[in-house]
């Protein structure tokens, strides 16, 4: 903490007291139900994007009867502007491994996986060493649990839970129909808990300190802290653990400056907030302003006045058009139409009113796309086009 800090920092995730063995042993001595209740009371929500209550996820999976169950740590971090999971895995891997093993204990799984994106290949060696040490300790305390790394190969969509399962099963990463949900039908069709790296790191905090310590931070509906990946036009790029519920204007006062034109909250699948709406926006799972839901992964990208919002939107749409799995019509074709559409308006090939047709299309994509990727394109599209319409045209 320094004088320049406006938003309160926290230090649970990266503080390493080398006490994972103690936390693991103590937690294993409690009943699965106790651990579930601890998570539920903490009101921890998924930190990867969807914000599903973690305690409930573990509870639902633990209640199902199956010979095989799995725990999967989603380390396919690919949302533009997000780089926190990489740091967690390189700096405090044992917290994540402990959380995975405890999840296994709670739901009745003997195997855990870390789906690591291919771009993070360089993390593999150290991570494997950590797993080796971890499994050795588990053996010593007579807890039978194995963790394996599964490498991705360059596909953003594999961060979507069902696409991740498909990928692990050796297939194209095409998301599945939901229902059924992963808690009932996940990897290999078995009950699976899939959690983001950061979510698991937070469960470690909660098991170590108890739910109250976590719950007392943050605000209603958005308890606890979150890692924010800050980049772009900012004097303070980096990763910060902050309490949830802050206002965006406080955030910009801390991390931006007078020239900050807009902030992209939640990566390309998140929302662009223009300066005039900073004070009316807060960061959490149910923000005060219409349209701001949870920050997908906590990516915060700041843009100053030199940045063209057209270029920004063009960049996002290119990203989605490429990374879409291509399976469903609204996403596969919709992304192309939005991308080519804004280019056509900019070049004068289509009238400015065509933007309204595109806004309507984006809305349809939100309602009809098969997975979160297609459903979220509208977030940035609508927020950028509505707030910076002139930049789309001139």
């Amino acid at each position: 903490m320094s004088d320049n800090d406006i938003v309160k920092r926290a230090d649970f995730i990266f503080k390493n007291e080398n006490d994972w063995e103690e936390v693991l042993t103590k937690s294993l001595a409690r009943t699965p139900n106790e651990l579930i209740n601890e998570l539920i009371s903490s009101e921890l929500k998924g930190r990867g994007g969807a914000g599903f209550p973690t305690g409930l996820k573990w509870k639902l999976t633990s209640e199902l009867k199956s010979d095989d169950k799995f725990v999967i740590c989603n380390a396919d971090e690919g949302e533009p502007g997000t780089f926190k999971d990489r740091e967690i895995l390189s700096r405090v891997p044992f917290k994540v491994l402990t959380a995975i093993a405890l999840c296994g204990y709670v739901i009745g799984a003997k195997q855990g996986f870390i789906y690591l994106r291919g771009e993070y290949f360089f993390l593999q060696q150290e991570l494997k060493k950590a797993i080796s040490e971890f499994e050795f300790f588990c053996k010593e305390i007579k807890y039978d649990f194995k963790i394996n790394i599964f490498m991705g190969s360059g596909a953003y969509i594999c961060g979507e839970e069902t696409a991740l399962f498909e990928s692990m099963e050796g297939k194209r990463g095409e998301p599945r129909n939901k229902p059924p949900y992963p808690t009932a039908y996940g990897y290999q069709g078995k009950p699976t808990v899939i959690n983001n790296v950061e979510t698991l790191a937070h469960t470690f905090t909660i098991f170590k300190y108890g739910a109250k310590r976590f719950y007392d931070l943050g605000v209603q509906f958005s308890r606890g802290t979150k890692l924010f990946s800050v980049s772009g036009d900012t004097p303070k790029p980096g990763i910060y653990e902050l309490e949830l519920g802050m206002s965006l204007s406080d955030f910009v006062d801390d991390f931006g400056d007078d020239d900050t034109k807009a902030v992209q909250v939640g990566g390309a699948s998140g929302f662009l907030v223009p300066r005039k709406k900073f004070s009316a926006t807060s960061i959490g799972y149910e923000g005060k302003l219409v349209g701001i839901s949870l920050p997908t992964g906590g990516s915060m990208m700041l843009f100053n006045s030199s940045r063209s919002m057209f270029n920004v939107l063009d960049n996002y749409l290119n990203f989605f058009a490429e990374e879409s799995c291509g399976q469903c019509t609204p996403c596969r074709v919709g992304c192309q139409q939005l991308l080519k559409g804004i280019k056509a308006v900019k070049r004068g090939e289509k009238p400015a009113s065509y933007l309204d047709k595109l806004l309507s299309l984006a809305e349809t994509m939100q309602y009809t796309a098969k997975c979160g990727l297609g459903q979220s394109v509208a977030n940035s599209f609508t927020s950028i086009v509505e707030n910076f319409r002139e930049e789309m045209i001139y």
Binding site: E323, S324, G326, Q327, V333, Q337, T368, K370
Partner: protein, 595 residues
Amino acid sequence: MGKKVKITINGQPVEIDKGTSILDAAKQIGVIIPTLCYHKDLCVAGNCRVCIVEIAGQKRLAPACATPCEEGMDVLTNTHKVRNSRKHIIELLLSEHNADCTSCYKNGNCELQLLASEFKIMNQDFIHLVPFRNYTIDDYSPSIIKDDSKCIRCQRCVRTCAELQSVNALTMAHKGEYAQVTTFFEKSMNDVICTNCGQCVNHCPTGALVEKNYIEEVWAAISDKSKYVVIQTAPAVRVGLGEELGFDPGTRVTGKMVAALKRLGFDAVMDTDFTADLTIMEEGSELLSRLRKALAENDRTIKLPMATSCSPGWIKFIEHLYPEFLDHLSTCKSPQQMFGALVKTYYAKARKLDPERIVSVSVMPCTAKKFEAARPEMHDSGYRDVDYVLTTRELAIMIKQAGIDFTRLEEMHFDRLMGESTGAGVIFGSTGGVMEAALRTAYELVTGREVPFDKLNITPVRGTEGIREARVKIEKPKKEWAFLDGVELKCAVAHGLVNAKYIMDKVKAGKADYHFVEFMACPGGCLGGGGQPIPTNPDIRQRRAIAIYAEDEGMTLRKSHENPEIIKIYNDFLGHPLSEVSHHLLHTKYTPRRL
């Protein structure tokens, strides 16, 4: 018999089995939800998003085909949100589709066209995406044309080729805007393992996959006064053709079909069912000869089970995937090819025609037959035995082009010499039919008695299960067949290549305890063939099957060996089954193929 749930659809209460999809529940109360990627034959995909509906309390729309009903669900299929979204989806599909309807082969029978018409997509403001891609048409195969510019990525063809046929010629490749349906390394269909069965064509909703048509070539032959154009008609055509010309599925239109063909201008209209009977004579004798060698003479080189060989999709399948087992195949040609070889020899001679003048055409429920006719070895007459193969669909087109009102035609009979058939010949059109026909003749040949089944209907080999088995015990055979006394003839029937794979894997493992197996590439047998009217589904195929067996029962002669034209051709020309002439004209060799 599971739990029931109560839901409402558009305010109307419905009670259905738990787990029923919204789509099926809606059908039960007469609510039609449009679909595109959904097909009764295939697993649910849920990717086109055309069937999306509103569920009260949910912001996002749900795909009706992939969403199971849950207690208390309040489904709305026609709200403003649903209609608007659906229109967008159709517009999006049209934007990535080369909509040259007036020049498209599927004009009039395209599911995308139908949707665009129903939803009156008058304003297509979206940017046309086709020019941004370098699509080329793949028309190197003699059977199937693939036009990627018309593909809507519903993946029906991929699922068909994988689930129904286990051939896996097609896959989705790449992702995002470059996601497309293609083959291994985007090679031509002709250069990968493709059996030409045409099931992909049957299941494709648009004109992305169609058969290669020879309509103009056949018109040219008919118009050429110097040519004598002969046509043969497969058994399955007569129970499918009607669907294209105003009749319900499963209507028998044999007589009208013959009349139409005569009006089209064919010089002779004869019947593949005749050579189906002939196939039974040859193949039945071949089977008995193998049994004699294997059981009586202990000849270890004889391969059992013997497999039927009239389905060219099946033949290419075994040539590619089980080339070490080609010896199991009967050496008999298919009825189409037997006919072709005979028409330019036997028929030409009898009618005093110069075989050079003869153009031999067939109408088949099949696309693989086009490949079969072009096989290099099919020249035993001294000419190409079958010059052109038309599918049932192409014949319907020609009938319409000729201005024939099919429904008002008077029934006519096939021409003589190669136009007479028995019920055993017509049942070739259904899965189990070849087996049944063979048993009717072989059993009688061996025992002197009719098969012990009521009305000669060998029901154990009939039906729709992928693999069916039947055992026929031979008791008190004629003296020359004494070695078969007490032998239980073990037979199996497989339809759909996924079931052929199952049996061949058993053969590979040495666990196929059969003497004789009938293999048909297409689900339902030929009546569900790749050249039959579109759409196809289990119900339509069932009705065509009923028609085939009704046609059989309605015939005077039910056993191949009783066909007088068959008796005549042996007397006058072939001598006896498996004679030298037969071997030359009616039997063939196979080609082991790798990719």
